[in-house]
């Protein structure tokens, strides 16, 4: 019996720092460091769906890669089911690879164009040591799971013979074929046309519910995150800005950055606000973040304290916020 409330993933002050710049700056002894993920702590319960929301360069994809151990933390720790990812090796690591899966952004880049769908879906089964006699049944079951009707007709086709929506379902089927407990989906519909996007998102929701998956959904679009995740984590320059129930963030974002993100989401209605966004121009520069709060140079509410002290993530009602505006509440 799976306990609904035990944490499946515990991220403790995780860091992923990249050293950038060439040999010269290394020789000078002070190589610039990009803090892709910088002191992120998140607890994710079994069966929870969490959206990682932010602009490019905010560390959301790096966070996904850390969770799948495609990259190792340079500080802090990530526990999966009580086990530290950084010490996973050999058979344990191989087992983890089948428990946690990645769904890629561009389905056409995520599959080998010379492999038929059958070959594409056989590969993980082969790696997991499933005998050939059982493979076809599993492949059919996985394709049915992602609602590709009459799956037999797809088996001997090549990726270019499928539409984007169909291929993204195949990519999803590949991620699910070994019955993982945890999936990370990185903008899985951003490459798809609008009319098929909804179908792929519906399949994602449905499969997750049926298999009781724990899921991370990475996106810059809150409208999409809202559709699939009950909880949202807003990131900016490698740090968590706000973490809480998606509906609360949609209706009343607390962090100034979350406010701007919510206001920026385009809506398909003729009547909508054209007010300027509550955020300064410019883009976050990960090589050279401001002192104190990393968001302060674009924040319309910044005050003296923001430049000197890094705000810590603290409880504010139903959620956690990292902003000095909410210091007084405590």
């Amino acid at each position: 019996m799976i306990d609904q409330f035990t944490p499946l993933i515990e991220i403790n002050a995780a860091q992923l720092h990249y050293r950038v710049g060439g040999a010269m700056s290394a020789l000078r002894g002070n190589p610039p460091v990009v803090k892709a993920v910088d002191g992120v702590s998140i607890v994710i319960r079994r069966g929870e769906s969490v959206g990682l929301l932010g602009e490019s360069g905010c560390g959301k994809t790096s966070m996904g890669r850390l969770l799948l151990k495609l990259e190792d933390v340079t500080g802090g720790d990530i526990l999966f089911d009580g086990q530290s990812l950084s010490t996973l090796k050999g058979a344990d690591l191989k087992r983890y690879r089948s428990r946690a899966q990645f769904i890629f952004q561009n389905p056409f880049d995520a599959v080998n164009p010379r492999f038929t769908i059958r070959q594409t879906l056989s590969e993980p089964l082969e790696n997991a040591g499933i005998p050939p006699s059982q493979r076809q049944d599993k492949i059919i079951a996985a394709l049915e799971l992602v609602r590709l009707s009459e799956p037999l007709q797809y088996l001997d086709r090549y990726p270019h013979q499928l539409s984007g929506g169909q291929l993204q379902r195949v990519v999803m089927a590949r991620a699910l074929i070994l019955q993982p407990e945890f999936v990370v989906a990185d903008e899985p519909v951003s490459m798809l046309d609008v009319s098929v996007r909804a179908g792929v998102l519906n399949v994602f929701r449905d499969v997750r519910d049926r298999l009781g998956l724990t899921a991370i959904y990475i996106s810059h679009d809150l409208a999409l995150v809202r559709y699939v995740c009950e909880r949202t984590i807003v990131m900016y320059l490698g740090k968590v800005m706000e973490d809480g129930p998606t509906e609360d963030i949609v209706h009343e974002p607390l962090h100034p950055y979350a406010k701007a993100l919510v206001a920026a989401v385009p809506v398909p209605h003729p009547d909508q606000s054209h007010d300027p966004l509550p955020i300064g121009r410019g883009a976050p520069d990960p090589r050279n973040p401001p002192s104190g709060c990393v968001f302060r140079d674009r924040c319309p509410y910044a005050f003296d304290r923001c430049a000197v002290e890094i705000p810590q993530l603290q409880q504010a009602g139903t959620r956690k916020v990292a902003c000095h505006l909410f210091d007084e509440a405590n």
Binding site: S56, G164, R226, A264, P268, P270, H274
Partner: protein, 341 residues
Amino acid sequence: MTETLLSVRDLRVSYKVGASRIDAVDGASFDVPRGTIVGLVGESGCGKTTIAKALTRVIADNASITGGQMMFEGRDLVSLSERQMNALRWREIAFIPQSAMNSLDPVYTVESQLNEVLRRRGGLGRREARKRCEELFELVGIDKGRLSDYPHQFSGGMRQRVAIALALALNPKLVIADEPVTALDVIVQRQILDQLRELQAALGISVIIVTHDISVVAYICDRTVVMYAGKVAEAGSMQATLTEPSHPYTMGLRNAFPDLQGAASGTLTPIEGAPPNLAFPPPGCRFAPRCPFVLETCRQVNPPLETVGPNHVAACHRAGEAVELRTQAARVDTWSGKVLA
């Protein structure tokens, strides 16, 4: 109503692929009134980018304009000589290509790329060109000190602004932007759209925005042209097409969009199936195989564009029943009866 700047009538653009001919644009008609922003919306392969390129007559080698007219201020762009057309490009019609931010040449500074347009196309002298570069950067909100920077030194949003500056360099009357915000984050997306709107109003130009995203249309456009499989399905004022769509495809597009202002976790309704293969288009209405309201006639007779309201046209045999169809289209089960092709 304002006068028409561009009037496209029955435009046909075909691609030769092997032995077969594909009509990517198959009889498209629409107008661009002066001083408005028109959104050309549709899915990939619907012909929207092909139309945009045909307007500048810079199309692929295997493509050709096989019919129709593109009347731009009294001149038919289809029948102009290459030389006359060349004189129009940049000066009167400017094109911002898809992922324009990657279309800048990485080995030249942005100033030298602006100069190429200003001096070679516009015939400006060195000093005038320099002044114009500074003006343009000011216009799009970039510090003029950055003129000597290379494209990689700019963020994606700033490169998009540079591409806009480039398009505005010679004061064109019409700017065509192909998916101007698709690769950008939501915040940058919004800022670029706001900027395009401001510039359009300040300079009094007309803009065609090619996009697959109806929320972009809802945010910035005055008029909408909805394309499906090489044909115009519906066209009209943005208000009318989005609040009172008369074509089932437009109705379906609305349902398929996540909406932050709507109720929580409502179900998104996809339009099942995929657009037809244009090498073998269906004989009747091209949307018929995916349409929940299909009749027998729809499969045989292609519906013409007909007026459904003031300045609002749609190509649907059942456009007269649009009020009733809209009610049905809002229900999820209306769209679920189809088998995935």
